[in-house]
């Protein structure tokens, strides 16, 4: 039995293995993902992003507690950064959610970014699809932590939650990172700390001053003390309000289309690039070509055009012959 079949039968180990294969980009992974895809599209996806130390993991832990009481099954993807020097990673987000690891209704997976920028990993969306196919009602994605580029979560999630804490000068970070645009919900965690009121006011002002969103949604602000579980119930209510507003305004379909588009284009882009680069390696090495550019013996524009012509030509040729190189 293939992994996909086993997953659809509820085999947790098979699901974990497929996630690994996806993460490692094994050729067979696509084979299984194809089989699972028809079963996806049911789960509601919540992204949780915010600076390290803002308490995202604890918040997720408490959210899961409430969702479980409501009878919802949960998938969690927790992303941590890969060390650029060693290629390794310490994945520690689970620590704060470990009590759920013996709950059969919850599946937690830790991922390393593996050099992917954007706050999640390249494999995140596909792994979400696996959890979706497993039948998880809600999938929560906890991103690495916010930097300039780490806003990819908005392309994957239905509701994006941005978590801040008072006293860290977060307001500046939010503007810089473009989070104001992506946040569907703001959370001020550790709200017992000094500066919580001030931060809330500053956020409100920024939200009001920002150009009105296309979808007409005004992000609410919730104050929480995740460690004590305070304010989490209200936050969950806020998420369902957002979800309902998407459904009522018929925007949910549009959002799903956009998510699907971004995912599809990413897949296409990745494969095309792999294919082109793969072919290039057969002839002149990429390295040699790059050196020519550096020496101004050619230019990148002409080189791309050349590669495109050759790539299309060889594809037309190979259509009459064997299969493509990597994936079929």
């Amino acid at each position: 039995m293939g992994l996909a079949e086993r997953i659809l039968k509820g085999d947790v180990r098979a699901a974990a293995r497929l996630m690994r294969d996806i993460d490692d980009d094994l050729p067979d992974a696509w084979h299984e993902l194809k089989k699972l895809y028809p079963k996806t599209g049911r789960a509601y996806i919540i992204g949780v992003t915010g600076l390290p130390g803002s308490g995202k993991s604890t918040l997720v832990d408490k959210m899961v507690e409430i969702f479980r009481k409501e009878g919802k099954t949960i998938g969690i993807v927790a992303v941590d950064p890969t060390s650029p020097f060693t290629g390794g990673a310490i994945l520690g987000d689970r620590i704060r959610m470990q009590r759920h690891s013996t709950d059969d209704g919850v599946f937690i997976r830790s991922l390393a970014t593996r050099g992917y920028l954007g706050g999640i990993s390249r494999s995140t969306h596909d792994i979400i699809n696996v959890m979706d196919a497993m039948g998880k009602d809600i999938i929560i994605v906890e991103t690495v932590g916010v930097g300039q580029d780490e806003v990819e979560i908005v392309n994957t999630a239905h509701t994006s939650i941005v978590v801040t804490v008072p006293g860290l000068g977060d307001e500046v970070q939010i503007i810089k990172a473009g989070l104001l645009e992506i946040a569907d919900i703001f959370v001020i965690n550790k709200s017992e700390r000094e500066g919580a009121e001030k931060l809330e006011q500053e956020l409100r002002v920024m939200i009001e001053m920002a150009p009105p969103r296309q979808d007409g949604w005004t992000p609410p602000i919730f104050k929480t003390e995740a460690v004590l579980g305070k304010g989490v119930f209200e936050l969950i209510y806020g998420v369902s309000r957002h979800r309902n507003s998407l459904i009522e305004s018929k925007k949910l379909d549009g959002k799903n289309k956009l998510r699907t588009k971004k995912h599809f284009l990413k897949l296409l882009q990745t494969r095309l690039l792999e294919s082109v680069l793969g072919r290039m390696e057969e002839g002149e090495t990429l390295d040699k070509m790059l050196q020519q550019l550096v020496d101004r013996k050619g230019n990148p524009y002409g080189l791309v055009e050349k590669i495109m012509r050759e790539h299309l030509k060889s594809h037309l040729r190979s259509d009459h012959g064997g299969k493509g190189k990597t994936h079929s």
Partner: protein, 134 residues
């Protein structure tokens, strides 16, 4: 296709809260290019096994300094067997007397690393004995 990254779970079962060694190992393995799921202290054997399965870990490293290893380590190995996941390698370290090593190996712990072990030796052990599925 690049070499698959080794995924390891480092966990402390039971009540022992001394995590200096576990943290050092986690860091050393990360520096050796592995992905390390670190779940901290006070884990039950059930939590450890479920985590190993969900994370598709190639290896589980257990640390215990309180003398409870003879109860807790074999329990982890047993639950892995119950869940048909005995292909996940289990190793252990901490305060473990020589006399207990044979019994632990019999119970399914592949190797025990005692005080004084170099992190480099553990890295090499894992690289040589653990291969992600192909």
């Amino acid at each position: 296709m690049p070499e698959r990254k080794i995924r390891v779970l480092i966990a402390k079962p039971g009540l022992d809260g001394h995590d200096r060694g576990a943290k050092i190992i986690a860091r050393a393995l990360r520096d050796a290019g592995m992905e390390v799921v670190y779940t901290g202290i006070r884990q039950t054997p059930e939590q450890i096994v479920n985590t190993a399965i969900q994370e598709d870990a190639d290896l589980v490293g257990l640390s215990c300094l309180s003398g409870a290893h003879m109860t807790l380590f074999p329990r982890v190995a047993q639950i892995l067997r119950n869940k048909k996941a005995e292909d996940i390698t289990v190793i252990g370290g901490g305060i473990i007397p020589f006399e207990d090593v044979a019994a632990l190996k019999k119970a399914g712990i592949k190797e025990i690393f005692q005080p004084g072990t170099y992190t480099e030796d553990i890295v090499q052990y894992i690289k040589q004995n653990v291969k992600p599925r192909q």
